[in-house]
Symmetry: C2
Subunit: 467 residues, 2 copies
């Protein structure tokens, strides 16, 4: 009921926006009407996948169950060529995880999550002295002697940002912090979660060790737990926190017992809306089916699969597009983009007109970015005009695509990005809190409307515009 | 720096408010000035206790460490008669805790916390069929046959409220829901956390079994986990959720291994500001030193101890009050108000002029309530006028006091309540999220200012006003 006035306004705006579009106006308009007013397959997919399957870690039975679920759901929705393409991948799984500050103050438990590829402490755990670094760069600058035999803690000051900027810079503490610490002789690494919330839910995620570097145990503390460690560190050192100096003896006990299971099966799910022109190259749209194991992966990335699939469904229902639309529900994105790489190995030599991906949550689309050939100038203008009524601004910088279509884009496939509002994203990303209640149905629908408008235009674009 | 304009405004308002107060204007005013402009012992206590001690479960070594910390801190602050009064109490401690939805869908882990006094499932856990109840009242109304041999789930619809109303009504699911289920033959009870947040942090708290009822395992799921259970329940029953009917077979596996440790030591900490008139009855102000074990108990109730102690310190510094101010940092509130009862047993027959307690978080005081003798009408008016400049409204209903002074008030001791804004309180209450970062220093200081104003007036009230 509450959506009715908004839907009506969307429709009126969309009609006026589309009135001056040069090409394929009938189909986009009717697809967008369906997206605005019909049922909401995006919600149904997000709710269904997170409820009936839940966490879907790559190459586990849960991910296999999710693939079976996806095959059945996509076939039931009327997509063509629904299939699974399996691949093998190295598989790491979480074990027990406990951490405690053990001195010099009253012992206290901390909330920790092992990072993907962390080594095990063994079942008895380890205990050691903490050495504090205010940043990843401070760790890099430290002499080995400061680190050797100790547990490295890496702090940072990441803040929420609409475009998610900060993840790349601050994320280095997770991506390669443990590797840097291991090379200097640390016995373990604990980082402040790469996250912007203040809940006791640590943010997991993959870390990577160079060839030749022996992995060490590596975990992330929740922000409140990292705060506590820092307060104790400040008392122990009795000076303002500065990078690295460790005159005191703040001690941490750590138990992490993850396992490497060797090569296991994962797979991509592919489905299509066949285009009317078999000679035209397809539009590929992607999301990822796997999630981290700590939650049901509602925003990362069940919602993405819901959004792209709903848009394709609306375009299909409104009338057959000229180009084939290929949906890629990639497997094993979180743990190293194994699905995206497998897709590229299998299909990288085929022609693709353009690639898109939805993998930044479920909040509203606020900007559209392009990386298109010169021939597509008018196409970009039409897309910008089509999404403007939904509050989407044209960006100034090139589209970069998502992880699962990254190899394609690097190989030259054009890209369009519908950038989602990431202000809340790193409150939830890779935590136990990534659950369905965090998805706002109104914003999810706005994603679908914007995606439908763009997809309808792309799928009906001419061969002169896109290769 | 940012507090300076606010402090100046407070001071100006306080001065004008106090200009028309009939009694003891000099002392209250200077105490309030100290509270507004001096250092902030409330923050120092809250930060120190939560950082250096952390969780402080009643009758454990952590609570004993907290008592030692409290004795040292209160003595260092210049209070008199700082002492510990020990008592014995039955002691329950948490063990391992795991829960999973095991069918008919893909198995999924849930976040659960055992409720205080829960029985153990044994180290192998139990598995059973869930029967859903929309409320505690629905459980009470159900026939035994619907419950026997099953795991009862109790849902509810608690929403945040400024005055915390809802806790009493919805809280029955926790207080006595497991007892009601046990009497009907349930093998375990799982409730939706009595909380208003949407994070994966379950809310613990005590539950009680009647004499003669054998305790069963009892735990609380976080709200997102309860949502998940309810969505699966709806699918299994394939009808709108209605109280109790269980045609399906939604299964839960539960592992809770708490232990009863028998009688253990706890204790109250008492400190005083000696009054100038030894014949005058004291003002008693209370908080509780213990916390639940899942977090550092910043809002419940380190902040309360910070607030009452800071107010007493400011009154003491401003000049000796006529009445003695007695601070009670009670032990063992969370698990059954054992400290409050022990205080009453030891001191209930002494005269007390009036009782106050701070135990509802650290957000601003918004209302003052009174339960005073007729002789204190002018006193109540003076207090209302003194706190009005700080945004505190006079309430219409009688003060009820806090748990630790409850026995005193029931025995006829007058009470003044400075009601705190509880809108956020049940987002955090009894969860792992009750950590220092949730305390807003500006609102904490407003508490201290309001408390200081009230305490200065009460401690200088006449024998004609208070007994």
């Amino acid at each position: 009921m509450t959506n009715t006035p908004r839907a009506a306004r969307f429709l009126a705006l969309a009609s006026s926006a589309l009135a001056f579009c040069g090409a394929a106006t009938a189909s986009p308009q009717s697809a967008v009407e369906l997206a605005q007013q019909g049922d909401d397959p995006a919600w149904a997919i997000t709710e269904g996948l997170t409820t009936e399957i839940g966490p879907r870690q790559a190459a586990t039975e849960a991910e296999a169950a999710a693939r079976r679920w996806a095959l059945a759901r996509l076939a039931a929705m009327g997509f063509a060529n629904v299939r699974e393409e399996q691949f093998m991948m190295p598989t790491w799984v979480r074990g027990d995880e406990e951490a405690s500050l053990t001195g010099p103050f009253q012992p206290q438990k901390l909330h920790i999550a092992a990072l993907g590829n962390s080594a095990s402490t063994g079942p008895k755990g380890i205990e050691g002295e903490i050495v504090y670094f205010a940043s990843y760069d401070a760790l890099l600058a430290a002499p080995d002697a400061m680190v050797k035999g100790k547990i490295v803690f890496i702090d940072h000051q990441m803040k929420a940002a609409q475009d998610g900027s900060g993840y790349g810079q601050y994320g280095r503490a997770r991506f390669t912090g443990p590797n840097a610490a291991a090379k200097k002789g640390a016995i373990a690494t604990v980082i402040r979660s790469i996250g912007t919330d203040n809940h006791r839910v640590p943010h997991t995620g993959g870390t990577n060790f160079e060839k030749g570097v022996k992995p060490i145990p590596a975990g992330a503390l929740s922000n409140p737990d990292a705060d506590q460690l820092v307060r104790q560190w400040r008392r122990v050192t009795a000076t303002p926190v500065a990078g690295g100096a460790s005159p005191g003896a703040l001690r941490l006990k750590l138990l992490l017992t993850p396992q490497n299971l060797g090569q296991q099966h994962s797979g991509n799910i592919i489905a299509e809306v066949p285009g009317s022109d078999p000679a035209a190259s397809p539009v590929i749209i992607a999301c990822h089916l796997d999630s981290w194991d700590l939650a049901t992966g509602a925003i990362d990335d069940a919602a993405g699969c819901g959004i792209i699939t709903a848009a394709a469904k609306h375009v299909m229902t409104a009338g057959q597009p000229r180009r084939t639309i290929r949906l890629l529900w990639a497997g094993a994105e979180e743990v190293g983009v194994f699905g995206g790489k497998a897709y590229f190995e299998a299909h990288g030599k085929e022609k693709h007109a353009v690639a898109m991906e939805s993998d930044f949550g479920a909040d509203r689309v606020w900007r559209v970015d392009f990386k298109l050939p010169d021939s597509a100038k008018s196409l970009a203008d039409r897309i910008s005009a089509a999404v403007a009524p939904f509050g989407v601004t044209r960006g100034k910088y090139p589209a970069s695509g998502g992880a699962d279509v990254g190899a394609l884009i690097e190989a030259g496939v054009p890209a369009v990005d519908l950038q989602q509002d990431g202000t809340r994203y790193f409150d939830l990303h890779h935590t136990a809190d990534d659950t369905l209640d965090k998805v706002d149905p109104a914003q999810l629908r706005q994603n679908v409307v914007a995606w439908t408008a763009v997809l309808a235009i792309l799928a009906n674009s001419s061969d002169a515009e896109l290769p």
